[in-house]
Symmetry: C2
Subunit: 465 residues, 2 copies
Amino acid sequence: MTEAATKRPAPATERAIAALAARFGNKLVTSQAVRQQHANVTTWLPNEPPDAVVYAASTEDVQAIVRICAEHHVPVIAWGTGTSLEGHVNAPLGGVCIDLSGMKRIVAVHAEDLDCVIEPGVTRKLLNEHLRDQGLFFPIDPGADASLGGMAATRASGTNAVRYGTMKDNVLALKAVLANGEVISTARRAKKSSAGYDLTRLLIGSEGTLGVIVELTLRLAGIPEAISAGVCPFPSVEAACNATIATIQAGIPVARIELLDALQVKASNAYSKLTLKETPTLFLEFHGSNASVAEQAESFGAIAAEFGGGPFAWTTKPEERSKLWQARHDAYWAVMNLRKGATGFATDVCVPISRLAECVVATQADIAEMKLIAPIVGHVGDGNFHVSVLFDPNDAEEVGRAKRFHERLVERSLSMDGTCTGEHGVGQGKRKYLLAEHGEAALAAMAAIKRALDPENIMNPGKIL
Amino acid sequence: MTEAATKRPAPATERAIAALAARFGNKLVTSQAVRQQHANVTTWLPNEPPDAVVYAASTEDVQAIVRICAEHHVPVIAWGTGTSLEGHVNAPLGGVCIDLSGMKRIVAVHAEDLDCVIEPGVTRKLLNEHLRDQGLFFPIDPGADASLGGMAATRASGTNAVRYGTMKDNVLALKAVLANGEVISTARRAKKSSAGYDLTRLLIGSEGTLGVIVELTLRLAGIPEAISAGVCPFPSVEAACNATIATIQAGIPVARIELLDALQVKASNAYSKLTLKETPTLFLEFHGSNASVAEQAESFGAIAAEFGGGPFAWTTKPEERSKLWQARHDAYWAVMNLRKGATGFATDVCVPISRLAECVVATQADIAEMKLIAPIVGHVGDGNFHVSVLFDPNDAEEVGRAKRFHERLVERSLSMDGTCTGEHGVGQGKRKYLLAEHGEAALAAMAAIKRALDPENIMNPGKIL
C-alpha cells in the first residue's frame, strides 16, 4: 500500500469530493482499490493514486467535474485505459481522476471523407472492429489496446507510423474541456485549414495538462486491397539499419519495418514458438494493390541482399501475417519471460535514421558493459527504438545501473539530434530531460502557454513541465 | 499614394528607427518605394506600408530588430517574398518590416534522413534546384515561388498536398525569435517526438504573430522513379468530384488531382494555347515506380469512365507534363486575361470532400445569379477550391456584389463543416470569419496564447486575432 493511497485528502479536496458526490452519486468512487487502479500500474514508477475517481459519461460531465475542481483548486487527471508508460495518470499532488472509458460512442463515420468522430474512451481495437465492414481502418497501432483519447494526449504512434504518421497526423480536429470549464472545438472537418493557431496539434501530446479531450475527429485509411509481410535476417544491426535507410530512400512506401535484435529474436522464438535465426531481423509489411505489394516486397528483397541480408521470406497469406505480427506485439511478454519476476521498463529514444545504427550499436555495447538483460525492438523506419530493461526492483545496485543506462541512452540520443521520447510521452519519467532537449527559451514558452490556459495549474500537474 | 505611406511615424517608432539605423546603417530603408513594396501588393486589400524596412542577414539581426522594437513597443512584421494573398505583410499600425529574403542559406541537406535545414528566405524553387542532383525534392507547391519561411508562417499547401500533406506535415522543426528577443528551437531532427508541447505546429500558421521564423528543418521526398500525368474531361462538376472521391477511397496515391471548371478551361485554352474540351476537367499526376504509375493511371481511367468522364489521356513524357502543369500554374494569369484591367481576388474555402460537388455547384449558381466573372480551380483531393473573382475596383456596386459573394461562399463552407481558408491564411482579410468558424472559447484560447507569448502585441498586430 503506498503512502498516497492511505493519506487523507486535503480539506479543499474533501470539499470538491463532497460537491462531486452531490452531482455524480455512485459515479464518484473513493475506494482504495479503484483509486490505485487509476494510477500508474505499467512500469517502475510508483503508484500515486488520485483522491477520487469520477466516471464521466458526457462532455457535460467532464465540464462539471473540471468546474468543481477549479473552484476548489484541486487537480484533475484524465484517464482512458491506463496503458501509459510514463506515469501520466499518477496523481502526485492528489486530486480527481476523470475516468473516460465510458465515453466510447462512435458518433459518426464519414466513409466518403475517410474520417470519423468518436468519444475519447473508444479504443483502437473497438474502432477498427466497427470500421471493418466499411473497408476502413484507423492505422495508428501502439501495440496496447489504448483509448484514442489517451493516444492523442500522448502523441502516440507505433508500428504503422512510418507510412501513416503519428497521432498528430491523423487527428483532424478535437474537442477539449479547458481548465475554465469551457469546451473548445479546435477545427472543422475539412482536410486542411489555415484558419488560425493549430490548437489541434497543441492539445495532441499535451498529456492532459492543457485540457481534457472529449471528442476526436480522426482520419481513416482504406483497408488495402493487398498486404504482404515477411521476415528478413541480417548479419548485423548496421546492415539492417542501412537496408532500412535504402528502402525509405528508394521511395518504397513500406507500411511497417521493425527491427528485433538477436536477443529479442531469441526471446520471441521461445515465447511465440517461432524458429527464426537468432540474428538482427527486420519484420516488414507492405500495403497496396496486388501488383504493388509484390513489387514492393521484391524491391525490398533486392535491397536487403545488397546489405548481406536475406533470404527475405514474404507472404500475402493472412494467417502467416497474423502470426508474425502477434509475435511482434507480444515482444514485451516475450521479454518478461526471459527473466521471471523481474521488473521491466521501456526506453523510447528516437534519432535521425542516419544515426540509428550507430545509436543501437553503442547502446548494445552499453548493455553488455553494464551487464543488463535488455533486448531491443525498433520502429526503425522512424529511427525510434525501445530497450526493454529487466531488473530486480529489490536490488538497489541493479536499479542504479538500469537508471544510469537510461541517462546515458538519452544523452546519446540528444547528442545525435534525437529526442528522449519518440512516442511514449514525457509524463513524470522524462521531465528531467526536457531542458537538455529543448533549451530554456522553448521550455519557458511552453510554461507560458500552460499558465495562459491553466493559470491555477489544476490540469494534470506534475507532468511534462 | 496611400495615406499610410505619407504619414509621419509615431515618436516611439522614430526612436526605434534611430536605434535601428545606428545598428544597421544602410540595411535600414525608409524610402516610400521600398516601404510600399513591402506591404500587400497582390490582392484587393489596400497597401499599408511599414515605417521602415530592415534587411536581416542572420538570426542575431532578427533578434536585435525585435529587441529594439520591443523596447519601443513598435510592431514587427516579417516579410519573405510578399506573395501572401491576405494582407499578412501589411502594417496597419505602422512598425518595422524585417525583410528575410537575404537569409537564404541552405544550411545542410541530410540526404540519408530525407531532411534539410534552411534559412527562411530560401524559396521553393531555389531549394528544389539545389536538391535535384541528389534525387530529392520538397513537395509543397503553392504555385508562387514563395519563401519557405512565409509558407510555414501561413501553413501553405497547394497541388501536391493530397499526397504529401501541407507545411504542417513537412516541417520537422524550426527556430523562431519570440517577442522577448529569445530564440526558441522547437524540436530535434528526429522524425517524431512526444517530448512536450508541439511548438513547431503552433508556429506554423501563426502568420508572424507569435514569432519570426529564422530557420526551418524540412522533410524531403525522393524524386519518384516515374511520373505520369494527364487530363480527364467530365460531363459535370459532380461527376469530376465523385470520381475524385472514388479515386481517394480506392487508395490510389494520387500526387495531384486538380479541378478546372469549364470557364477556367476556356481561360487556360486561350492563355496557354491548349485545345482542351471546355467542360469540367481534372488534371492529374501520379508518382511511383514505372509499373506503379501506369497502374495508378489505368485505375483512375477506369474510375473516371464509371462517372461518365474520359477519355483519360495520360503520358510519362516530361515535356508534355511540364506544359500541362505550366498551364495549371498560369491559371491566375489566364483568368486575369479574361477581363483586361480588372482586379481579382482568390477565395479559399475547403470542405469535407463529400460536400465538395454540392459546394462547387451552389457556388457556380451564385456566380451566375450575381453576374460575376469567376472561374474555379480546385485542389479537389483535399476539398479545397479557389474562385477567382474579377471585378472593376472603381465600380462600387460590383465590388459590393463580389464581397457579398465571398461572404455567402464562406457561410456555405462553414455550414458544410468547412473552413474559410484552406491554405492562404487569415491575415487581415478573413479575421471576421474566425468567430463563426471556431467559436468564442477557441478564439479566447488563441488570444490567451498570443498574450502569453507577445504581451505587448508587437508581433504582426492586426492579423488573425
